[in-house]
């Protein structure tokens, strides 16, 4: 079948792109970056993993997930509890002793002693929570701003809950001072590089997963649901199920990002999972291009990098730069920076055609191919 030339990338180009990205992250970065910047890059990878999920749910599925911090927290706190217990050994973690010296370890901490349970929790907790939440919301056809506000409120609620349970969760101070990572000494530079490589590799795996999703029948249905939910329903599909799958996958990715954030950054606090953090994750996705394959990941990494480097040289101005960039992108490039080449190409061919349908057509085309 002959295909019309569209502005979307051909699948094999996207796949080669992932390949190049993998080589850069897994082979080039460890050779050229210092330990400090490699560690920072690992942190950006964690945000990028969550961002890839947001791209799937929001960019392709049209669900504005404003509370991915909740799922980021499930992974992060599962991991942090395990690492805290691994560091404490047989004793009760130091911060708990500080607030109530004689009380025992809270019940819900106990299973996180087991490495297997922890890994299982990182995967299953977000699936169960997102599954139950998504089922309840999508079956009731909650969407748009209501869905966004609800997810955002959950992130706020969870951050407040963690802040106010200082003895159980470390409160506002968070959990930190991890010495071991599944038996490996975290201070060893070789091990820190290993943790980075795991994060980078998982980012590539997530990109491959969504690459496959976008090309599949499911990807086609997801875009169709986003653009014309009622029509999809009339065709005999249940849009709730389609959205549910995308929401669960995005929650899982946020959880994985959160879990790796902990050994890389060495601390997790409610500030990293609350409203501001959840919006921060969205900002990168919007800047990069929410519906594209690479846009969310690259956008999240760019924003993370900006925070580290521009925030250092220009602490007062950096947030204004980010805000300004955000406004400019929303006004002039609603599909993010990654849509810039396509827009330029479209503008060259037919200056009158608005770019948005072209992008949607390209996505459908990509999904169909």
């Amino acid at each position: 079948m002959t295909k019309p030339r569209t502005t979307g990338l051909k699948p094999w180009i996207s796949l080669s792109g992932i390949g190049v990205f993998a080589v850069l992250l897994l082979a080039v970065a460890p050779l050229v970056l210092t330990d400090h910047w490699l560690n920072n890059l690992g942190k950006y990878c964690c945000w990028a993993i969550a961002a890839v999920g947001i791209g799937l749910a929001w960019g392709r599925g049209g669900m504005l997930v404003m509370g991915q911090g909740v799922f980021f927290a499930l992974g992060a706190y599962s991991m942090a509890m395990h690492l805290t217990l691994e560091t404490a050994g047989d004793r009760i973690p130091g911060f708990m002793v500080l607030y109530d010296p004689l009380a025992p370890l809270p019940m819900f901490w106990e299973p996180f002693r087991s490495a297997g349970f922890t890994l299982l929790a990182i995967v299953l907790l977000p699936v169960v929570v997102a599954g139950a939440l998504g089922y309840a919301l999508f079956k009731r056809r909650v969407k748009g701003a209501y869905f966004a506000i609800l997810t955002q409120a959950l992130a706020v609620a969870l951050a407040v809950l963690i802040s106010s349970t200082i003895r159980e969760t470390g409160g506002d101070t968070g959990l930190s001072d991890f010495k071991y990572f599944f038996g490996f000494v975290l201070n060893d530079p070789a091990n820190r590089q290993m943790v980075y490589l795991i994060a980078a590799a998982l980012l590539i795996v997530c990109l491959l997963a969504v690459w496959q999703f976008y090309r599949s029948r499911f990807g086609e249905l997801l875009v169709a649901t986003r653009d014309a939910e009622e029509r999809v329903r009339f065709l005999g599909y249940d849009p709730a199920n389609i959205k549910l799958v995308a929401f669960i996958v995005s929650a899982l990715m946020a959880s994985i990002g959160g879990a790796l954030f902990v050994p890389i950054v060495g601390i997790i606090t409610p500030a990293e999972i609350g409203a501001a953090a959840s919006i921060f994750m969205i900002a990168g996705v919007a800047l990069g291009g929410r519906a594209s394959l690479f846009g969310p990941a690259l956008g999240a990494m760019a924003v993370g990098w900006g925070q580290s480097s521009l925030g250092s040289t220009w602490p007062d101005g950096w947030t204004y730069v980010l805000g300004l960039l955000f406004i400019v992108v929303i006004l002039f490039l609603p599909n993010g920076l990654s849509s810039l080449p396509a827009r330029l190409a479209a503008a060259r061919r037919k200056p009158d055609v608005p770019p948005t349908p072209a992008i949607a057509a390209a996505e459908l085309e990509e999904a169909r191919s």
Binding site: L98, Y99, P101, D177, A201, V265, T319
Partner: protein, 432 residues
């Protein structure tokens, strides 16, 4: 192209990633229990270079976010101390060159910037932090890279680290003097109000233990998160409990909401005075309400009459961007840079281990605005005078109580037998 071959390609790609991960895991470093890389001792060789005629120091303060209002002052007084020391010939003849970083009131950022200062900028020591949470984020990082961190704010004690020097008060230099003052005043009932984080929670745990020993009854205890300003319902409980005194461990702008709710509830300093440990000269005018008649426990007040204080106040008032008033935390930050200078010059070296050895073997002192402070080389805290001040109409403090001598730092409260030994042991064990 057929869909089968596409699936295959995806599988191959996934397989390649899996193989890479396996290789990664195979080529990794020390495992738990290895002698060569015990936690904390595997620090990479220091990259600090002091061969030139300057020494690089790092200042890590929140210049943005909720704590910026307090921490910008600390940052500024560190700059002032730098200018003074440089004008005086520097440290060991080397001029200070500083790298200022923003902690952004975000604890993971404090950890990240500490690592950057130590491994990228190669600074010889870091000065800053304010909240205990920020210190607890910095601690594992300075320990990992065997760096030095000077922390300038009063805190909850029960901590020690070979890589941290504490120039603010520990509990026995601020909380315990405040309790002694209350007991001497004949206070029988006390209400505890604090922000919900590590310092107030721990301080109140200690206050409760000591109050039981002094025969003071705690009639209530309320916490509000650090970033929340609404104290209405908590203050209603205080008004109902009618305590003789309120012990205030609220930090930051939340105090404004607390003071507002206090006066709205009809409470007055004449009947229900407040003693605070976080309201100083800087904060008092910002309360948006008359706070005359309330008390604060600090080591330094602007109103202190010492030999060095007048010049300190004069220099600070003349310094660009200064707030015009001096206060305890900024004075402690000022001490920290001079203490570092004294330590390095006693050691004859910027090397961390040499500095720590000098702290142990020599008597390090500094003529601070609060008086002549002496470093305890074992626990890395300094001796301090205890003072209670009462806020006057000019938002300055009239000193109403002073300890009879400088109080030696005792972060684990080993000299206080009302502090249970088993708790101390658990804490020191947990600190590892």
């Amino acid at each position: 192209m057929s869909s089968t071959s596409k699936r295959m390609r995806a599988l191959v790609a996934t397989g390649a990633i899996g193989t890479t991960m396996a290789l990664v895991l195979a080529g990794c470093g020390a495992r738990a229990g290895d002698d060569t890389a015990g936690a904390g001792s595997s620090a990479a060789a220091s990259c600090v270079d002091t061969s030139g005629d300057t020494v690089k120091l790092g200042f890590l303060n929140s210049l943005t976010g909720g704590m910026a209002i307090s921490e910008k002052t600390v940052s500024n007084v560190l700059h002032m101390a730098t200018d003074e020391i440089n004008a005086d010939g520097g440290i060991l003849g080397k001029k200070i060159e500083y790298v200022q970083e923003d902690g952004a009131t975000d604890w993971p950022t404090f950890a990240e910037k500490t690592e950057k200062l130590l491994t990228q900028d190669c600074v010889a020591a870091i000065f800053g932090g304010w909240t205990s949470s920020s210190r607890k984020a910095v601690k594992p990082v300075v320990e990992k890279f065997n760096g030095l961190f000077f922390y300038p704010v009063q805190y909850e004690g029960l901590e020690s680290s070979p890589n941290i020097y504490y120039t603010g008060a520990t509990t026995n230099q601020q909380i315990i003097p405040a309790m002694d003052f209350l007991a001497a005043k004949g206070v029988k009932t006390l209400f505890l109000a604090g922000s919900d984080y590590v310092f107030p929670r721990t301080a109140n745990a200690i206050i409760k233990l000591y109050a039981a020993n002094l025969g003071i009854k705690i009639v209530g205890e309320e916490y509000v998160p650090l970033d929340k300003d609404d104290w209405t319902s908590q203050v209603a409980k205080i008004a109902a409990a009618k305590p003789d005194f309120i012990f205030n461990t609220i930090n930051g702008s939340s105090n404004v909401g607390f003071i507002k709710a206090y006066y709205d509830a009809g409470l007055t300093p004449a009947k229900t005075p407040i003693i605070s440990v976080s309201i100083a000269e800087e904060e008092a005018p910002a309360m948006g309400h008359e706070v005359t008649g309330h008390y604060a426990s600090w080591n330094y007040f602007q109103s202190l009459k010492t030999d060095t204080n007048p010049e300190f106040i004069k220099n600070w008032k003349a310094y660009p961007n200064s707030s015009g008033v001096t206060s305890d935390p900024m004075e402690a930050a000022y001490i920290s840079l001079y203490l570092y200078k004294a330590l390095v010059e006693a050691a004859g070296s910027f090397d961390v281990n040499a500095v720590n050895a000098a702290a142990k073997s020599k008597t390090i002192t500094f003529d601070a605005p609060e008086g002549k402070v002496t470093l305890d080389g074992e626990n890395h805290h300094i001796s301090k005078p205890g003072h209670i001040g009462r806020i006057n109409a000019d938002n300055q403090f009239d000193i109403v109580w002073a300890s009879d001598k400088f109080i030696e730092p005792d972060p684990y409260l080993e000299g206080y037998d009302w502090f249970p030994a088993d708790i101390r042991k658990q804490l020191t064990d947990a600190a590892g």
